[in-house]
Amino acid sequence: MKLWIRVRSVLRNLFQKQHVEKQLDDEVRAYADMIADERVAAGMSASEARRTALADLGGAEQVKQAVRDRRAGAGMEILWQDARYGLRQLARNPGFTVTVVLTLALSIGANTAIFSIVNALMLKSLPYAHPERMGTIYTRIRGPIASDERHHVNGEQWELLRDHVPALISAVSGIRPSGVNLETRSHAQYVRAGRISEHYLDVLAIHPLLGRNFTKAEDLPHGTKTAILSYGLWHSTFGSNPNILGKAILLKGEPYTVIGVLPEGLTIPLSADVYTALQPSRDGEGAGTNFEAITRLRDGATWQEADAQINRAWSLRTNRYELEDNPGAQVSYYSVPLQKGETATLRPQALALMLAAGFILLIACANLAGLTLVQVLRRTPEIATRLALGASRWHIQKQLWIENLLLALLGGMVGVATGFLALRGLIALLPEHFLPVADVSLDGGVLAFTFLISLLTSVLFGMLPTLTTRRLDLRSAIGSRMTTGSDHLRLRQALIAGEVALTVVLLAAAGLLIRTLIHLQTLPPGFNPNGVMTATASLDDARYHDAAAFRKLLSESTAAMRQIPGVEQAAVGLSLPYERSLIMGGISISDGKEAGQKAMADEVYVTPDYFAALQIPVLAGRSFTDEDGPGTQRVTIVNREFARKFFHNANPVGRHIFEDMLIVGVVEDVAMAPGIDPIAPLTNESTMYVPATQMESSQISVVHVWFQPSWIVRTSGPVEGLTAQMQHALASVDPNLPFSGFYSMKDLLAKTLATQRVEVALLGAMAALALILSAVGIFALVANIVAQKTREIGIRMALGSTARQAMVHVGATGAWSAVVGLALGLVLCAGALRAMRSVLYGTSVYDSRTILAVVLMLATVTVIAAIAPTLRISRIDPAQTLREE
């Protein structure tokens, strides 16, 4: 009730101001009139009565003001007045206002966009019920080789986790989705399949839209073949058929019974079109760490209990791979939140980008501080006049702060729009499924963040100028036409130097990333990537579990492709250069002085023309031929790295591995995505190639679960409709085998280096933004000096100085701050860039070429920004300038 009365008063005072004022005026006047009436009645003259009555009143205007000051909402009204005054000030200087708002929009926009990603990756809860109860398991190893990270788990670990850790509901899945063939009545299509264990959806707290999750029986090895459809596949391929449950679909060449359909718009760590039961065991796939575990804390249990149970269960294992080659290591396991586990690899990058965005904000603030300082100096006479007329310093300060705040909020609003656009662009730039989150949005958290940094910027750039008004000397300020204190100039130079220093760091960081990308893109590939077209198909299919069927498919399809006019070579390989490949552990070297040693290498099955099609040079021995078949001597070809690593660079041709597998050749290394030791995005890993014809049925069915082989054709020139003809050639052998897509080697390289390209694009954009802001800062500094010193320059020129000398004299002020900033920036680089070491390849942190490029770029921009505004000097007419005084 009381609140309502108060609110009503405030509203009336604000919005019925005229009426309220009129009543106040009437009331006060009535008071004086009544006193005057009494005095006239008592015999005083009318004019005397009126005069004394007004004197008794103590000034009508003062009384009214006293009432106004006590009125409800008085503070708000004064604020409103100040804001309107501020807006008028901003409107009066459109150039200044637009510069400030644009600068803020760009810097706040950059921060908003980057923060949205940080927010989606790290701050927002995962979109599941009780995300705080979801986790995954980290393995901490202390010892000669220490590590602390999420490991994949093997079948034994999974069984122990499932059976001996009652505090958790646990589930495992394949590490990444694979490609499989889905045949419907009309056509066959290539879809992404995820393999998940029982309870996987329970851990995520996802309830199927139709049907149910996999049962324990279905998840046992050789259990019944069942499938759960994603909403998208159910909708697109099965027309949202509500009676789909219990029906069989032809997946991987076999009937799978549909037991469930997932709801729309889900985020699942293992994103796929269709899910089948993982059916994990300790053998086969489960003998290695090929599963990814997720967990959910059961009601009433604690993470401490869960961790204790995991450690107890996993310490008793017979085969502890963590201890291999790491004697005396201490291994412990602990749960981490699922979100951390899922985003761990992206976090450092996101934080580094956030830091870069913060730099941009600081640079913008330094610029704006300089600009507002000039603006306040220009207004010194006005401010001095207001002070002289009785405004309190507090009032002046408040006025300036309000103007800064208005600017910051205006910039913030435009910044949100800019950030939204930047974010759209950024997401378009990212490869599909790059971020492990469903969407990145400008939600309340992001908007609150933007609002906060708007406030922060207004404080940062507003602080300096407002402080200067505190030292304003009234008499000299009113007297002088323009104040250009040298300490103000020094201050602005320092600001410019600071922003240039930050720009140097960003430029150098971007430069190093660019060098890394160039290094990776221009690595000698070891083959000829031009004129090659590749296509991938899934052989994780019942029709090709048999080696003979597999051999027939490869030989007939490559033969058909060779018939395409313009095609010179056609081949098939399990994996391609630039891609990950299958890792084969436990390779034993069987003879010679290295006999008995164990090796680990990538293994790629290939058809005989693989090396010819990719033009991988054969360095020693021979290539595979059609003679290498299922019944003949088992043979292999190794790459140069394999020979270097396991045979000490000796020619290994004629030696044996795996007892009876003869090394018949050595080929050049090719650049590939690392599988064994991820030291760089592209490496030369030791690799053994085997003839596809010598693969056994058991091997074939296992490797095709993880890898989809590629068909390769080399053409002499561009071939019209090549991809359609390739699909046609494959269909002539198997009409129900679809290609997933067609890729040139350039596409594959781009896919492998996607992270690096995104990093370069983002940091490059920010460095460019920083450079532009710095250039604007230097330009504004010199332009102001020119405007302020027109008279001094006029006198100098009248005394015989040339325009060129005057230009150098003024421009040097800007150039000097840039030079100081550059030096400071290089010192900063020495410390800050060391943090980048882990993302740099083929270049060191202190790369002289990068530094040279940064210095040159900055020098060029500085010279342009410092000279452009001095061009006005040449138009200064000394006579006219002096006459104006």
Binding site: A30, Y31, D33, M34, I35, D37, A41, V67
Partner: protein, 110 residues
Amino acid sequence: MGPKQANLLQGTLDLLILKALGAGELHGLGVSRRIEQMTQGTFLVKPGSLFPALHRMEEAGWLSSVWGESENNRRAKYYRLTRAGKSQLEVETEQWATVALAMANALKAT
């Protein structure tokens, strides 16, 4: 400050205004006169204090106002106590009595 005037204690003015209006509605000058009369001339409330206080108390919901004719046909704004104002008067009277008694006792006990 003349011999007839004493400093108004913080909060005293509100109580005096409430008391002055306790007998019935008055305009601004009337309130001022009534206070002077009630305190036998000890307190003279100047318009510079009176009007802000009246407006503030009206905004607080203790007073309501109407425009009316004064004795000599001037249009004047008349204030009267609202129900909240009446209870406020009771509360403040009680408080004042407590304070006054305490002060008197304190000053007596030398």
